[in-house]
């Protein structure tokens, strides 16, 4: 039961968290929540061994879809968010046909090119997508009440609870997938695709599946962002944000489920709280670059390796401990 208590305590802390923060920090907290889903979905893709540079654009697909559905067709907002995720997953399935002819580095560059094509389409076609200025005045999430709490979505705290609820559900699903035989097959495809094939695994189908699921959840995170900010444009989903996602994943480490999330939270706290307090936020790319190089040099297995070490020590003199493989 103590494990259960830890989860309850963590949940209580997450609920109490915004009340100790300033208004601008509460806003950052909302973005952080959304980014956690983005980076966690990215990890599912890296399970099959592929690193994409188009993930943020896929997130944008979810944002644009959800925004347009509410604006043009008056779809109820939470439903449109789900549709945003579905659209992102479908686009990923389409992209998989050209992209999964490639592997490794070529896939990386191919995914970047595919993402840029989508972004340029948003810029070029002003009719549905609003061109370079994007879409403004996106319907916010309608307010509602659940009895003891009144959701007012002009308050970041309310949106934080709403987004947090959705993100936790999404993380739970991602976790279930990773710990299932499907997740094991993703690992198998990553480490030895030939042996996986010889065991009857349709490698191409599994790579597409991972890409589609990761993209679907990225789409949901994009939709969450669109209905919070109220305006989206093609430049919000450019390579800059993608580099941040990569940095979070690399600094956090991708061997565990929580690694990238840890990277995202720690770097956001460093960035938004510490740097902003010191008035250094203009130097963000410089400092992010330095952190990334330092972590690759001194912490090659990411922040997660620190957590692993700490929990192993606490496990102490239990069963035979094996040192983590180098």
């Amino acid at each position: 039961m103590p494990k259960f208590m830890i989860w309850i305590a963590a949940l209580a802390a997450l609920i109490a968290l915004p009340h100790g923060l300033s208004f601008s920090q509460q806003e950052i907290l909302v973005f952080l929540t959304i980014n956690v889903l983005l980076v966690a979905s990215y990890r599912l893709l890296t399970l099959t061994g592929e690193w994409s540079l188009g993930h943020v654009v896929i997130m944008g697909v979810g944002a644009y879809t959800s925004a347009l559905l509410t604006k043009k067709f008056g779809v109820f907002v939470p439903v449109s968010m789900l549709m945003g995720g579905v659209a992102a997953a479908l686009i990923a399935v389409l992209l998989s046909f050209p992209l999964f002819r490639m592997k490794g580095f070529y896939f990386l560059i191919g995914s970047f090119a595919a993402g840029e094509i989508i972004r340029l389409l948003w810029k070029r076609f002003r009719d549905p997508f609003g061109g370079a200025k994007g879409i403004k005045g996106i319907d916010p999430m309608p307010d509602f009440s659940i009895g003891f709490y009144q959701f007012d979505f002009f308050e970041p705290t309310s949106y934080y609870y709403f987004a947090g609820f959705i993100v936790i559900i999404c993380l739970w699903i991602l976790w279930r997938i990773e710990k299932s035989p499907v997740g094991l097959t993703f690992h198998a495809v990553h480490w030895q695709d030939k042996l996986a094939q010889a065991s009857g695994v349709n490698v191409r189908a599994y790579r597409t599946l991972a890409f589609a699921i990761a993209s679907g959840f990225a789409g949901i995170s994009g939709a969450l962002l669109a209905h919070y900010v109220g305006t989206i444009n093609p430049n919000a989903f450019d390579i800059d944000l993608m580099v941040f996602v990569l940095t979070w994943a690399i600094v956090g480490g991708t061997a565990t489920f929580y690694g990238p999330i840890l990277g995202c939270v720690v770097l956001t706290v460093i960035n938004e709280i510490v740097l902003r307090e010191l008035g250094l936020e203009q130097m963000r790319p410089l400092i992010y670059g330095a952190i990334m190089i330092l972590s690759i040099l001194f912490l090659p297995n990411g922040l997660e390796s620190l957590v692993q070490k700490a929990t192993q020590k606490r496990a102490g003199n239990g069963a035979a401990q094996r040192s983590p493989a180098e």
């Binding site: 699903i173 499907v182 198998a188 030895q192 042996l195 094939q197 009857g200 695994v201």
Partner: protein, 255 residues
């Protein structure tokens, strides 16, 4: 009556090089069949065509009369023909049990929706039971939580076969299973193969180690320079003049 596994006029050309030249042979159900020949004879190429790794330029691979040449490797595997690889190709980062669980992919096909909701408990238990059964068969049941990459060479080889065995195959294709093994390990491996055969599994081996092959196989096909050379039982092959010439005759390299 249709033959169990038949290779018909199989030909593979890489550019101008003909690696395998209209090779034909039959594998009887429930036997251990060896495919031998000097280096560069095209054994591994033949093997890769049967397992779906290569698409043959010409000719057919027939399984129970069905043409399986040109299918993808996973489609060939789903028809019951499972291969192992040269060297120790394993999921080195995963544990021994997880390796065997990947092998159960075909009998217990994962379903993502059932996995999220938690309705695949029976399948997961079934897969784990099958994986453990396969590991026990190869004497690896004491090493479930070891990383596959940390195992000894002999154990890695056995695990490679356990992964194949876990999928309930009809035919196992073994690519040089005795390479780099000492005589003791070779003898143990031969025992395991006899047990697989007793389990009703047909085995096709590509191998250099003549002693192991002669002691193990019911039938042997010998090829040289991509062509069919001779076929028969171990004694027949050992005394076949063309085989002796291919291995020992002239200044040619001895395998």
């Amino acid at each position: 009556m249709t033959n169990f596994l038949e290779v018909k006029n199989l030909t593979m050309r890489f550019g101008g090089l003909t690696a395998v030249d209209s090779l034909s042979f039959k594998v009887e159900h429930g036997t251990i069949h060896g495919l031998i020949g000097p280096n560069g004879a095209g054994k591994t190429t033949t093997f890769n065509m049967i397992s779906g790794f290569y698409t043959p330029t010409e000719g057919q691979v027939l399984l129970r009369g069905e043409d399986i040449s040109g299918l993808h490797m996973h489609e060939v595997a789903r028809r019951g023909v499972v291969r192992t690889f040269q060297h120790s190709t394993l999921f080195a980062e995963l544990t021994v049990l997880e390796n065997a669980l990947v092998g159960t992919h075909m009998p217990f096909r994962p379903n993502i929706f059932a996995a999220i909701i938690g309705w695949d408990k029976e399948d997961r238990h079934g897969a784990e039971a099958r994986a453990k059964e396969a590991l026990e068969f190869f004497g690896l049941d004491g090493l479930l939580d070891e990383k596959a990459g940390d195992l000894s060479h002999g154990h890695q080889r056995a695990l490679g076969m356990a992964v194949a065995y876990a999928s309930h195959p009809d035919v196992i294709l073994l690519d040089e299973p005795f390479t780099g093994m000492n005589p003791e390990e070779t003898r143990q491996m031969m025992d395991l193969m006899e047990r697989l055969k007793a389990d009703g599994i047909t085995i096709l081996i590509v191998e250099h180690d003549m002693q192991a092959i002669m002691g193990l196989c019911d039938n042997i096909t010998c090829m040289s320079f991509g062509k069919f050379l001779a076929e028969g039982g171990p004694t027949e092959i050992r005394n076949h003049p063309a085989v002796i010439e291919a291995y020992l005759g002239g200044a040619r390299h001895v395998a």
